[in-house]
Amino acid sequence: MTAHKLKDEDLHAYVDGWLDGDRRLAVERWLADDPEAARKVEDYRAQAALLHEIFDPVLREESAPETQELADKLKGRIAGNDNRPAWHAKPWVRMAAAVMLLVSGAAGGYFGRGATSPSPAQQQQRQTLLTFAEEAAQAHRFYTADERYQVEMGADDPGALDSFLSQRVGKEVFGPDLSKAGYRLIGGRSLPTDLGAGAQYMYINEQGKRITLFAGSAPAGQTNNFSFTQKGDVATFYWIEGQIAYALIGRLSKDELMGITKAVYDDVKAGRRLAPPPQPSNPEEKNPDQQRREGEQGNGVQPVSDTHKPKDS
């Protein structure tokens, strides 16, 4: 904790995610004592959420061919020795880029990482997990905004969905049964996160309200009790159970979401994976069919599951 006097600038840096551990904690203490400052933070966050809501759809638009031509030319000029000219011309790379931008937006930019000064391990972990929760919330915002993009793979065969996503994440994940909470699993997709590929399960209730459960590989040795965060009207509970980090997201009140979180937690704890999935041999094969069934092709979105590749490179 520093002796610095906190200023307006710290509030902005807090909202924009540029503070390291100590400074962040200091601002949080300030906010706890100063309702007016806390309201400012809430409003600034809501502003950012609205700006994203208004302008993020641009990322989903196909850019003009002339723009793409210029982009490719620039790539050639700057990259110079990039000897794989063909791969990045594929549409999925462009979509992957847009999704990556969306999903990482909350955390201050994927490629902007690594410049912050190191902080104690615990705070680092906390930040990592918060980043994970923010990424999950961004993904929720993105994929619930437009019905065309909802799921990559349907839940007609939950076993196939689970094994597909488990393979992506590299750990066993499954979509818990939330029927007691009034929500039905409609499908899922995999997405890139700070912690590697994550799995997003999407649920819907009778009123058409959607919630998503995001599961990702937790950093080794990390534990975390339930934490809550809210950005705009999107509420998120996140926690670690076993080796998996979870985030449950919805446009719900904290109490409503808490109720569902308990249902998820109980199911995860019980470990629903009693029987092996029906087609454990090669879940990948199932994927193209599923995508066609979801009617996603033509939008250039289906390759989103490949977005973890650039991160792995």
Partner: protein, 170 residues
Amino acid sequence: MSKFGVELEVHIASLRRYARSLLRNRVDAEDLVQEALARAISRSDSFQAGTNLRAWLFTILHNVHVNQVRSRASRPDEVPVDAVEHRLTTPARQEERVEVREMMRVVDELPEEQRQVLMLVALEGLKYEEVAEVLGVPIGTVMSRLSRAREAVRTKMANGGAAAGLRRVK
């Protein structure tokens, strides 16, 4: 796999979003991005590998934009009448929430220099130093514009602020 290719795609997607937030009109925004990319190509020699590609690209786009605004000012009758129609970019959304409309109106009313800072920070996630570099102003100026922009939006959003508006919807 080339990380660079994806990085550049990410930045260009970001440029397109920023351009739209400045101009609202899809055609004009695409034009702006194209002109910026063309200029970046012609100046690619001046880009040093390992330096901040994002800031470099945004700086170029900003300068192109400033020039365009200047030249448009000498031809005032060219302002497109249908700009409003194009500016909402959510095709699938039937009804547009009150907060969204309010936000668009309020952001439109901001002085250009404040709007730029707000978009670069809150929408594009640039660091304050990067914004200073892009706009060619001291970082103190960035912070004061950011602060003024956020407070102006806050004050002008109906019913006591954006968050209040969002809460109301639930």
